[in-house]
């Protein structure tokens, strides 16, 4: 169930695992809780998807997720439960490679899953005289180095995205990298 007769448009910046998790979280919350499959099956599926989006998924999780989704579809009492696994089943059918990237490489191809990305300021694009990101950072994680190139302290960063939005379009120096290990060692 995604909605009643409406259309959701997604692009390459939308992670299909996160989209499946988001819709399942919605149906899981909406479930009345009367029947076993909808009440507990969607809860189990959500726990698996939560793990995958956090990079803690395993190969066996995909098989279990698929089996659970089919059983919840077949076993639920009403149509909410019968359709709740649809986003999971269709994303698994068409975008299994994205699930695999999360599990095997700890990488979110759409750079959407917060636990699998890191923010990084490209030193050759950062402008020495600009302080836009430093001012907007909500947790004071950005500071200039000796050359006045801004550097993000990965320990402090909460991945709120405000620095990437604040960085003026002519520089576009803030990028998201996945897996987080892609960030080069800081040069302070």
């Amino acid at each position: 169930m995604m909605c009643s007769g409406c259309m959701v448009v997604l692009d390459e910046d939308d992670c299909m695992v996160e989209i499946a998790r988001y819709f399942l979280e919605f149906t899981q919350r909406e479930s009345c809780g009367k029947c076993t499959f909808c009440r507990l099956g969607t809860k189990q599926m959500l726990a698996i998807l939560d793990d995958i989006t956090k990079g803690k998924g395993t190969e066996a999780d995909i098989e279990l997720l698929k089996a659970l989704a089919e059983d919840v579809q077949a076993g639920s009492l009403c149509s909410l439960g019968k359709t709740a696994p649809n986003p999971v089943l269709t994303t698994l059918r068409y975008f299994e490679d994205e699930y695999q990237a999360h599990i095997k490489e700890g990488r979110c191809p759409s750079l959407m899953c917060r636990d699998l990305i890191a923010y990084y300021i490209l030193p050759d694009r950062c402008e020495r005289s600009c302080d836009a990101c430093v001012g907007t950072c909500t947790v004071e994680a950005i500071s200039p180095n000796r050359k006045r190139i801004k550097v993000i302290d990965q320990e402090k960063c909460v991945k709120c995205d405000t620095c990437r939005v604040a960085c003026p379009p002519q520089y576009n120096a803030v990028v998201k990298l996945s897996p987080p290990g892609e960030v080069p060692a800081a040069t302070k």
Binding site: G33, K34, T36, R39, K43, G75
Partner: protein
């Protein structure tokens, strides 16, 4: 009332037309796992999703409690498709059931234990994560102890209290995973005047509602 004949697991059975398939099977000595069904229900609760059977001519397994018997019906209670769903349903219940048989009053008489034997599965979930509910145990009533963490939400206590005794101490509250059997305004059971008939403990299939020792 018209009499019909049907076949369950190869056994020829006669029943009244319109009788509930689950009870026809159980009365003929054919066990079908069930938790939420009660004999004098006006309509099936169909919440536990364990009584899946295969009916010839139907593409998918159906719950026996929602089927009425018809002439010539051929039912298979041991079909692989039906057993697969029943096992999954049971595993889901057990994954959120506070499993402590050794210290549970219902040990030995628990319907979950007999269903596990019938389905040939373990009581501990094999594939699923244990997701505990972490609800408090209510022992405020002079005769009863209610441990919501062992409840499978079959609703037998709710119906026996409301429909058969006319008291209605219990009801369902909250949605989804948070759904639970509780009293009005979530008060301790002891805060309500009840006839102390202990019918709720008698119908509880698990150790969720037990008489005080």
């Amino acid at each position: 009332m018209k009499t019909v004949s049907l076949t369950i697991d190869g056994k020829k059975i006669t029943a009244h037309e319109g009788d509930n398939l689950l009870w026809v099977a159980l009365d003929s000595g054919i066990y079908v796992p069930n938790l939420c069904a009660m004999r004098d229900d006006h309509e099936p609760m169909a919440a536990c999703r364990l009584c899946f059977v295969e009916v010839a001519g139907r593409p998918k397994p159906v719950t026996a409690c929602t089927e009425s018997v018809i002439e010539g019906m051929v039912v298979n209670t041991r079909g692989q498709g039906a057993l697969k769903l029943a096992r999954r349903g049971f595993e889901l219940l057990m994954a959120s059931h506070s499993l402590d048989c050794a210290h549970c009053q219902s040990n030995g008489s628990c319907e979950l234990q007999s269903i596990a034997r019938h389905l040939r599965v373990s009581l501990k979930p094999r594939h699923l994560r244990k997701i505990e509910r972490g609800l408090p145990v209510d022992s405020s009533h002079p005769h009863l102890v209610y441990d919501a963490n062992k409840c499978v939400l079959c609703g037998r206590c709710v119906r026996v209290c409301r429909e058969h005794l006319g008291t209605g101490i219990f009801g369902f509250a909250h949605r989804g995973f948070a759904r639970r059997v509780t009293t009005f305004a979530d008060q301790p059971i002891g805060a309500y005047e009840c006839s102390q008939c202990d019918a709720c403990a008698a119908v509880c299939p698990t150790g969720a509602m037990t008489p005080k020792e």
